[in-house]
Symmetry: C2
DNA sequence: GCATTCAGTGTACGAGTGTTCACTGAACGA
DNA sequence: TCGTTCAGTGAACACTCGTACACTGAATGC
């Protein structure tokens, strides 16, 4: 009976719980403002905890921002991996459809994370900006590696492959941003479908360019 | 002697002068933070003027932000027009080179304006965000109109042309952002050349896709 | 010349900010 | 069982913030 809860981590768990609460509250507050304007007191007030408690978890809101970057981009990384794996065997047309659908779903599932990433990618807080930039560059690299397996890119230089990976990642981010903006329009579903349509055609354009890159 | 200064606008001119000073000071302060974190007092302090004087020109920092958007995008519009006009007769290769050069020059000439636009495009202040979005959409429209004159896009639908215009404008903004980031690296000139090289290849990729869009 | 306009001043207000520090009390390890 | 650890408290610190209001004095128009 006693050792079923092996004497460990009630404290650690409690701490984790308020840490999560801080992150969640911050994420919610960041939907309508940017990180450089987010106050430490504002966050603790939303959680219902004393301001000083904040320091037990982060030494500044910038550091909290970096933590948010990590969890947001972990999620995005999973989606990218899913896109790459899921569409590896598809024909070109349905591959594009599937990609855009997966982006739409990701945005629907984690809108606040995505909004945060897009807002802070060029935001006023350097460490956050750099963390996002570094991660996105890593994603581009991974996409480039996957691209190399495709017959259309046979014989490409590494540099050109990296360029192409970057194009896809940027395209993905812009599409996500579009889906995010869509929900604020008067007919969100129609707007989202418009975004999806443009995204599909952009990808088709890029793929056509890729096919004719050499010779 | 007396009517050489025709009794007009000494007041108006003085007002304009401090208005400019407010805009310039804000622009400088915004290089290291975002608009939602910019304080009215901070701006007036930088200009050397009483806080209340701010209200003679803007009713909030958001309104000042919108003014900045307008002047920043006027400048960008001129550069886009220059790109479209200047490269109308060129062959494809040098057209791309010229385009990228003009973007690089624009960023070198007005770095603060560009940084502001890129930062606030997805920033926390709605009216500013929307002003930027609307203007960029207008630019895309203009580029689309110009694209329609090109033989490669003969027979394209209006929707596809708009899509293409958007691709070019987004590409331009991303390139500008790249040039901006380049100056912060240890070898800025090399970084800028790397950005330029990637931008040129991206444009080449897009142009290849454009050429093979139909059939 | 004179009354009017108005860009900019100076002071004051209440409210919110980040950070500190001594503290409490429950979870912990031995 | 008992001393230690440490997440969270609450009060106080010295700021900064946006806004209001009565004001000054030079430019202005009649």
């Amino acid at each position: 009976m006693s050792h079923t809860v092996p004497s460990a981590g009630i404290r650690r768990a409690r701490k984790q719980r308020t840490r999560r609460a801080l992150l969640d509250a911050a994420l919610r507050l960041l939907e309508h403002q940017s990180l450089s304007g987010l106050g430490l007191r504002e966050v603790t007030r939303a959680v219902g905890v004393a301001p000083a408690a904040f320091y037990r978890h982060f030494e500044s809101t910038a550091e909290l921002g970096v933590a948010l970057v990590e969890e947001a981009l972990d999620g995005l990384h999973d989606t990218i991996a899913a896109i790459l794996a899921d569409t590896r065997e598809s024909r070109d047309g349905e591959r594009i459809d599937r990609t855009v659908d997966l982006i739409a779903r990701h945005v629907r599932d984690r809108p606040a994370h995505i909004r945060f990433i897009i807002r802070e990618r060029h935001g006023g807080v350097r460490p956050v900006r750099e963390a996002i930039g570094a991660q996105l560059r890593r994603f581009a690299e991974e996409v480039a590696v996957e691209c190399a397996r495709h017959p259309d890119t046979r014989g490409w230089s590494e540099d050109d492959l990296r360029m192409l990976g970057g194009v896809y990642v940027d395209q993905m981010v812009m599409t996500a941003s579009g889906f995010l903006d869509a929900v604020e329009e008067e007919d969100p579903e129609a707007a989202a479908e418009r975004v999806a349509s443009v995204a599909r055609r952009r990808l088709r354009l890029i793929n056509l360019g890729r096919r004719h890159w050499l010779g």
